[in-house]
């Protein structure tokens, strides 16, 4: 019982402190703090349209959050989610353009095939940084981050080069795909129910894999002591690569859903910061699958709500990221100040007395 009260107290404390810090930052930027927050909440939840937009932002966040839970379970800092989304989107567009449009695959297989292609693309991109880690001793933070920039370059090159619109290359993206190659939308809105179903299914799958399978158990063994896992014959390197591949496939699927369900073409920076936002959401939920959907939903509201800020108050829409950062930091502080409640994840405290 004390664990629950203290975790509630921590959540309350960090929310209140985060609210104060955010209001101070907004005031320091010379904007009316309360109006700004009201505009954000209204933009994320105020109308049916807003809720649908929030739900369509929730889909990639949930998928990437699930992806990150898999990789964090193996103690991997999968910073490359952003690039994996992009590669997934690129592969999805490639499948729909070059196979779907050309009629090389039957119509009913075009969209599922494209989503499968996006998963392969994301997994391959993630495996690249996985192999660099396991066999090249390059930490996945650096390879993931570098590959994010490379993926952005690849998508820009495709948009401005080989896949440019007939007539002129444009930063608004490639030629839109015909409606026959979209994920079925929900009542004509720019939101596909299939995306949400896929995201929830992926999330349940990840929860099952991590908590109920032998593979999940070995990942946790690798996380807690890679050396012991090696001695037990669990082949930590192979498990890490498998975790990277699964995570990459989910992130790639997020990119595929963004193409097939929302944008229907390849646009520059299609990953839309979802990869980084998902990292924040997972850190906010401290790796717990139970709280992750809530964190993702909250961050989706913030992300969608902040899009209104430039129009309504001529503020930069990056306020969403500011709030997310403040919230995660205050939660870190709260967790350190009242460490009583054990949420299952033991933080990465460094034992300063004994150098490795």
């Amino acid at each position: 019982m004390t664990g629950r009260t203290s975790s509630l107290a921590r959540a309350g404390f960090s929310l209140a402190l985060a609210l104060c810090v955010t209001l101070a930052i907004v005031a320091a930027a010379g904007a009316p703090p309360l109006t700004t927050l009201a505009v954000m909440l209204d933009g994320g939840l105020g109308s049916g349209q807003a809720v649908l937009r929030t739900l369509s932002a929730l889909v990639p966040l949930l998928l990437c959050g699930a992806a990150l839970c898999v990789t964090f379970a193996a103690n991997l800092w999968n910073i490359g989610v952003e690039g994996q989304i992009t590669l997934g989107a690129v592969c999805c567009v490639w499948f729909l353009r070059d196979l779907g449009l050309a009629g090389l695959v039957p119509p009913f297989l075009a969209v599922p095939g494209a989503l499968a292609a996006s998963m392969v693309g994301g997994a391959a991109w993630a495996l690249l940084s996985g192999v660099l880690r396991t066999h090249g001793r390059v930490h996945e933070i650096f390879s993931g981050l570098g590959l994010n920039f490379v993926a952005m370059g690849v998508s820009l090159w495709l948009i401005l080069g080989p896949w440019k619109r007939p007539g002129m290359a444009s930063m608004s993206g490639t030629e839109p795909l015909p409606a026959a190659l979209w994920l079925p939308a929900l009542g004509g809105r720019p939101m596909s129910l299939w995306g949400l179903i896929l995201a929830v299914a992926a999330f349940v799958l990840v929860a099952w894999v991590l908590n109920r399978t032998f593979f999940g158990l070995t990942l946790s063994a690798v996380r807690q002591n890679a050396m012991a896992a090696e001695r037990l014959g669990l082949r930590p390197k192979r498990r890490m690569l498998a975790a990277m591949a699964l995570g990459g496939a989910l992130a790639g699927l997020a990119g595929g859903v963004l193409v097939a369900g929302l944008y229907h073409r390849l646009i520059p920076s299609i990953s839309g910061n979802y990869g980084y936002t998902a990292i924040m959401a997972v850190l906010l939920a401290s790796g717990s699958l139970r709280f992750l959907p809530l964190a993702c939903l909250f961050f989706a509201v913030l992300t969608v709500g902040s899009i209104q800020l430039p129009l309504a108050l001529s503020l930069d829409s990056s306020l969403a990221g500011v709030v997310q950062g403040v919230l995660v930091l205050t939660l870190f502080a709260a967790r350190r100040l009242w460490p009583a409640g054990n949420t299952g994840s033991t933080g990465g405290t460094r034992n300063r007395g004994s150098a490795a």
Partner: protein
């Protein structure tokens, strides 16, 4: 290749390298004391905004630069409080800070975007700037080049030739032994973290006040902090080698710009991202060279032995394996 062209090339490389050198030196100090500051990229960007805003407000670029340094130290202080005093994971806090600072910079800097503002101008020292080849490249251009080169000397002297520097290295190499020896480990680490953050902040100021003048969304220096973090590993945590690494990456950037004129078919964005694959490749080569397997192979294959690093080098003891921990 004419002498003038060579001088211009050297000048361009030194100019592009200046902020990278400062940021990487800052991280070197921090990591030498055993604190990994992953917030560097956000620090550089946020300090760039602060420096530009302060320079506009005071109409003095040097005050702006100082404000950038203070902003960098402020962010490092947040990391220090969380990582060193509260005992949270430095990696997690640093990474959150890097994302947070980036968004904060864009949010707070909204009013500064695409505004004209002061910059650090150019030096023209008599006599010195007439020296062949390096004279104009160092003494007849932006003062940031001279600043960064002086900083290399100062940081090297501090870390390698002073008692305080010895304390820093001892703390970073073996914290437990340093405690037993009666050294104030946490205080040293905190101070080094602050100093490293301040240098990262100055690097941001160099971007917005000289190298890529002005502010915008994007500013143009995004990702530089990550390159600097990789440069520290590339340079084996040694100040002079780290500076050489920064020059290497700056040379790649300059080569990209120069090649753009020769090969106009390739789009400019591809050259912008060129440093990142190079970063991964250099880390791959550097880390493989330091690996035990490579040393083993080098003992059997004669020519490979020349490629093994002569000094043991490697990371300071306190941060070995730190990156392998989760959040």
């Amino acid at each position: 290749m004419s002498l003038d062209y060579l001088t211009a090339l050297i000048a361009a490389v030194l100019f592009a390298a200046a902020p990278l050198i400062l940021a990487a030196l800052g991280e070197t100090i921090s990591e030498r004391a055993g604190v990994i500051n992953l917030s560097l990229d956000g620090t550089v960007l946020f300090a760039a905004m602060v420096a530009f805003a302060a320079a506009r407000a005071t109409d003095n670029p040097w005050l702006g630069l100082a404000a950038g340094g203070l902003a960098g130290a402020g962010i490092a202080a947040v990391l220090g409080v969380f990582g060193l005093l509260l005992g949270a994971s430095e990696l997690a806090v640093g990474f959150v800070l890097t994302l947070f600072c980036r968004e904060l910079a864009y949010f707070m800097g909204h009013g500064q975007a695409r505004q004209p503002g002061p910059d650090l101008g150019a030096l023209n020292l008599p006599f010195l700037s007439d020296l062949p080849l390096f004279g104009p490249a160092i003494f007849r251009q932006s003062p940031v080049v001279l600043l960064s080169l002086v900083a290399v000397g100062l940081v090297w002297f501090f870390l390698m030739r002073t008692r305080a520097g010895l304390v820093v290295r001892a703390v970073g190499e073996a914290p437990a032994a340093a405690v037993a020896r009666g050294l104030a480990v946490t205080r040293t680490q905190f101070l080094c973290c602050l100093a490293g953050g301040a240098l990262g902040g100055l690097a941001g100021g160099l971007y917005s006040l000289s190298v890529k003048p002005g502010w915008g969304h994007p500013q143009g220096c995004e990702g530089a902090g990550w390159i600097a973090l990789a440069i520290v590993i590339f340079g084996g945590w040694k100040p002079v080698r780290v500076a050489l690494g920064a020059l290497f990456f700056a040379a790649i950037q300059v080569a990209g710009i120069a090649l753009q004129d020769v090969l106009p078919g390739l789009s400019g964005t591809l050259f912008q991202i060129a440093p990142f694959p190079v970063m991964i490749l250099t880390l791959l080569v550097v880390n493989l060279r330091r690996s035990a397997a490579f040393r083993e192979a080098a003992r059997r294959v004669p020519l490979l032995g020349r490629l093994v690093p002569r000094t043991a080098g490697g990371a300071p003891g306190a941060i070995v394996g730190a990156l392998d921990k989760g959040f």
